[in-house]
């Protein structure tokens, strides 16, 4: 019966499983969720490894085609988002940095300013906020574009032309997003720290700009730079993997695209938070 249903509606087993009626008992429901989680995890891992393999193996293949696509994706996930990031940097500076500086000054704890800024802005808020914004603006577009291309048979057409869809469609998006998240995080952090001081200055906090930036640079270590780069590149890479996986790796119909886009963005948020937790552990260990 189940096989007939799948054939009748051209659904894969996983899709059929997702659309099955809710189980009667709570343990069955949890079991189903766990099973779906494991299927997704398996798919994402395989997709990430395939993409990495293609990046390494085909770095010299069709450079005249992939190069412009790569620049286009870096522009889309980086340069095109700069105005929005400048606005968010100002907001972050006002909401978090400015108020933190002002509060620390009121209790005479400006000596902790540097380490507070580094932990709050450089290690945590900057990368995470940048990743979330890129996920919302570009990641969701990835799912829709790739899902539509898959549903309209464009991916099949690439295969028929002997063009590797992962190389042509995924690699530029993954690299573009990794570079984009890294670059935008740097701009976001610099913008937030600068605008934060500006707002603190407007609140008459008795702190010279030289002292403010000296404290921050003293609190920053090489490890912060290294882990910041690693973390932002990892955010970009995994956001692109999650969104591209949902767009490309499953056969979709046009009506499935919006639903899958929502799922991909939710999973992207979860992946970012889990990665962030992993990096907190790394900071604690090192």
């Amino acid at each position: 019966m189940r096989e007939n249903l799948a054939k009748a509606f051209e659904l894969t087993d996983t899709q059929l499983f997702r659309r099955a009626p809710l189980p009667k008992s709570y343990t069955d429901f949890l079991g189903r969720k766990l099973f779906l989680f494991l299927i997704t995890l398996q798919g994402l891992t395989a997709f990430a490894l395939i993409t990495l393999g293609v990046i390494l193996r085909k770095s010299r293949t069709a450079r005249n085609v992939i190069g412009p696509r790569l620049r286009q994706e870096i522009a889309r996930a980086g340069v095109a988002l700069l105005p929005m990031f400048l606005f968010v940097a100002l907001a972050l500076g006002f909401l978090v940095v400015g108020q933190t500086v002002s509060a620390l000054a009121r209790v005479g704890a400006t000596g902790y300013l540097g380490s507070t800024m580094v932990i709050v802005v450089v290690r945590e808020l900057g990368p995470l906020l940048a990743a979330m914004l890129v996920l919302a603006r570009v990641g969701s577009a990835h799912v829709i574009e790739l899902g539509t291309a898959r549903a309209l048979g464009e991916v099949e057409a690439l295969e028929a032309l002997g063009i590797d869809p992962v190389h042509y469609l995924i690699v530029p998006r993954v690299i573009g997003m990794a570079v984009g998240v890294f670059a935008l995080t740097v701009y976001l952090i610099l913008g937030a720290l600068a605008s934060g001081y500006l707002f603190a200055f407007l609140q008459d906090v008795p702190l010279l700009p030289g002292d403010y930036f000296k404290q921050i640079t003293e609190a920053l270590g090489w490890l912060d730079f290294g882990l910041l780069a690693l973390k932002t590149v990892a955010f970009g890479f995994f956001i692109a993997i999650v969104t591209c996986f949902h767009g490309l790796a499953q056969p979709l119909r046009l009506e499935d695209v919006s639903r899958v886009a929502v799922r991909a963005v939710s999973q992207g948020v979860i992946v970012c938070v889990l990665l962030d937790a992993l990096f907190i552990l790394l900071y604690l260990v090192t």
Binding site: A149, E154, L161
Partner: protein, 261 residues
């Protein structure tokens, strides 16, 4: 490839074909078929009889569930990265064209050439322009597919499949829904390719086209096959089709009320 020159263009032995979406759902069974280089075959069948999946299997996009399918002597199961050169001897024109909607028609045609020969758009321009002129697409070349009619999208899909000068051209229902002028153009152009067009260096191109309407394809120079009820019937010449007592063949030859030809 040179050692495979005398091999059949397509050779199928006891092949079972499944759908692309569900490999457990078999649409054709026990297909035994051979296409010699330079032959022009038309495979007819009713809508949803499995013609498209059959063509995708011939193109090497999926493996047979059972049996063996060889193109110019190479098993399509072996069509990996190492056999890319062999795979590029096959050009496939999808039923809906399946052009890349983000690219212009010119970019669509240029992409396979640029990708496989690592060319810049400027370096590929001359060859692309020649082909665009051949399919009369030059005035529309810089428009995206969604802004041109289906008639011209099909031609762009044909040009995209021809840009790498394939030896075997597969066409999925290329005449469906075409205007009369376009339909005649297609039949004439495919015949030219089949007899040896300058674009392919004068070499006769092997062509396999599917259809659900046999009438426009009538010709003494073509061979015909029928897909029906999960079976594949290679008839051969047109007179064998006409003399066939199969009700499905008669239906495919029948003239519908809204005929345009």
């Amino acid at each position: 490839m040179s050692e495979n020159e005398n091999q059949p263009a397509v050779e199928m032995r006891d092949v079972s074909v499944a759908t692309m979406r569900d490999i457990g759902f078999v649409v054709l069974e026990d297909v035994n078929w051979q296409v010699a280089p330079g032959e022009f075959w038309t495979v007819a069948g009713q809508p949803n009889s499995g013609k498209s999946d059959f063509l995708k299997l011939v193109a090497g996009l999926m493996a047979p569930v059972k049996g063996e399918c060889k193109l110019f002597g190479t098993d399509t199961r072996m069509f990996g990265e190492a056999k890319l050169a062999e795979r590029l001897h096959v050009g496939l024109v999808f039923a809906g064209g399946q052009l890349f909607n983000q690219l212009t028609l010119r970019e669509n045609v240029s992409l396979p050439l640029q990708y496989h020969q690592d060319l810049t758009p400027a370096a590929a321009a001359q060859e692309v322009q020649t082909l665009l002129e051949l399919v009369e697409l030059t005035p529309l070349a810089d428009i995206t597919p969604s802004n041109v009619s289906d008639n011209w999208r099909r031609r762009a899909a044909l040009a995209r499949a021809l840009i790498l000068k394939p030896k075997l051209l597969l066409l999925d229902d290329p005449l469906a829904g075409l205007g009369l002028r376009h339909l005649h153009w297609w039949l004439r152009f495919l015949d030219q390719l089949s007899h040896g067009h300058g674009w392919a260096g004068g070499q006769p191109m092997t062509i396999v086209a599917t259809t659900d309407d046999l009438r426009p394809w009538r010709s003494e120079n073509r061979k015909f096959a029928l897909v029906h009820d999960k079976k594949f019937f290679p008839f051969g010449a047109w007179n064998e089709v006409e003399s066939a007592n199969d009700p499905v063949v008669k239906e495919l030859l029948a003239v519908p009320l809204e005929t345009t030809i």
